[in-house]
Symmetry: C2
Subunit: 325 residues, 2 copies
DNA sequence: GTGAAAGCGCTAACAG
DNA sequence: CTGTTAGCGCTTTCAC
């Protein structure tokens, strides 16, 4: 592999001149420039990023930590974040934690080892204290780690309200929702608190099942939802995230209950699968495009030392009306 | 950030000794080792991977290039490949090409710039010649770039045969399949040739629609499949990849056709969404776990200079019987 | 066993 | 305008 020295030698100039020519920093005579270009051509020279990285102590890589890339919400988010980063000249490292806190820790350590310049995290298996000790660029998705770490999340309260109002207006009197354990204090869990509150205010009976989503596999949701539908037989409305909601719909239909006539179902996230259910699922849409842009914008500001960002950024949600409500 | 020099100074040893202690290479007296460990503790020293990378001219990163991470097959594959790489001590860089050949080229160039040590590619927008020029570790998924580049793919012929036999045995007489343009010469497209052949042999009429899947968005599939179902009204069997198949099912049901009584549908890939359709979709399962392992195994062998791998590796497929056939 | 020194490929500062 | 030089932080000979 040809190095900058080989180019300099062949072009009869110093390495500094080649570097300047390459990066457009400082003056280079047209003549020298021409010879350098020729040498680069001839040698098939490509700058070695590894050396650049060492010099400027930057890798140009941002890590994105998600529980499971196979979950459609995180797949979409990862895709969009990767696109934003690409536009801004950064590369994307992907990290699946699959609920294993060791992995999450390993990936966080890459900040110290200078493997990534920053991390956007949507995983939650580690204790807050671990994050608070870190003094490098981190942006959190749907989790508040305290003043030091910026967080970005949807307006989940509004999401819960929209969901509740949708079911209420559709005439539900006895609804069921699946929430994350209330021990986990995340912005996203607020939708369930709000949902419950609104339902109560309107005299609708609401049952909240708190679950720990051990893993985010379809297979798991499928079995779990089937079991739950056997337990809660008299409900007329359901609110939970898309994948779970889709499996609820299937389980309900298998039991002969008609949707939306007998049971209304409203999902959350509005990922592609809402078009796959029969009927098409009503869902609260998170604006993953804006979330991604804000995540990338914020992490790059942190990396580049620009303090000019809001610590908490809330992104609007919207009702995407389907035929399941 | 403390460097190895600081550690050496504090421990009263040379940097070489610290390096040896850190990497377990060469002898270090117990006494020196102890002082070094203490210094590392006290300084909170972490080795800078960037410097290591430059020295050994390796980044420890493998890039995985996919058309669209949001497509469930690639989401699963990416997840599994990331897991394998993690087990082997490598990191994963993710690259969505979204059908843009510029992006694919940009990511390939990272090989030359030493940003990634190798690339596993499942994208196809560039011409073969571009790949053939590259002299670095590349493993291709479902595409034959010629003798230089190893390829890994499912036994798609068997897949096509299984699909055909399933529809035939279910009594279909007039089936429809969606294939990639026959101009694109990929192993995965062989399933449609085989499918057609088997159907013919059994006196079953088969219509093959060749499509260019412009993008892999749910929205696109949904509209496209709806239109196709309006055009092909008299068919009694369909074979296509899961996502498309799922939307076919929905479009058919919307037109009042019963599945599987009037039309049988068989998918390909067997990703999670087969459990979401109603009825549960029959599909040909690709063994993504084994595909991922082989991809990782092969790319790491190439990176580490081990020539001991097969150029073409074919992974078995299996029929996953659902209720749509 | 261990320190000193060279060098991975690049950039930036500094004389000319 | 341009060549020389000194590192970025680490690993690895190679004498002592």
């Amino acid at each position: 592999m040809a190095s900058i020295r080989d180019v300099a030698k062949m072009a009869n100039v110093g390495v500094g001149t080649v570097s300047r020519a390459l990066n457009g920093t400082g003056y280079v005579s047209a003549d020298a420039k021409k010879r350098i270009d020729e040498a680069i051509q001839e040698l098939g020279y490509t700058p070695n990023e590894l050396a650049k990285n060492l010099f400027r102590n930057r890798s140009g890589i941002v890590g994105i930590v998600v529980p499971n890339l196979e979950h459609p919400f995180f797949a979409r988010l990862s895709r969009e974040i990767e696109s934003c980063l690409y536009e801004r000249g950064y590369k994307t490292m992907i990290c699946n934690t699959i609920g294993i806190s060791n992995r999450e820790k390993d990936y966080l350590d890459m900040l110290d080892r200078n493997i990534v310049d920053g991390i956007i995290t949507g995983a939650h298996s580690l204790d807050d204290s671990v994050y608070l000790k870190i003094n490098k660029p981190i942006v959190a998705l749907d989790r508040d780690f305290g003043r030091k770490i910026p967080l970005i999340h949807s307006d989940h309260e509004k999401g819960g309200r929209l969901a509740a109002m949708t079911l209420i207006e559709a005439g539900c009197k006895n609804v069921l929702q699946f929430a994350t354990s209330s021990l986990v204090h995340t912005p996203s869990n607020k939708r369930h608190i709000e949902f419950e509150k609104i339902c109560r205010e309107h005299g609708v009976r609401v049952t909240t099942v708190e679950t720990v989503w051990n893993n985010l596999e379809y297979e798991y949701f499928r079995n779990a939802m089937k079991d739950y539908m056997d337990i809660y037989e008299d409900i007329d409305g359901i609110f939970t995230a898309d994948v779970a909601a889709a499996f609820c719909m299937n389980a309900l239909k298998a039991k002969g209950r008609r949707i939306p006539q007998e049971v209304k179902v409203i999902g959350y996230d509005a990922v592609g699968i809402i078009y796959l259910t029969d009927p098409v699922m009503t869902s609260i849409a998170q604006n993953t495009t804006e979330i991604s842009q804000r995540c990338v914008d914020t992490i790059l500001k942190m990396i580049e030392g620009n303090k000019n960002y809001e610590r908490q950024q809330i992104v609007d949600v919207a009702l995407l009306k389907g035929d399941s409500t």
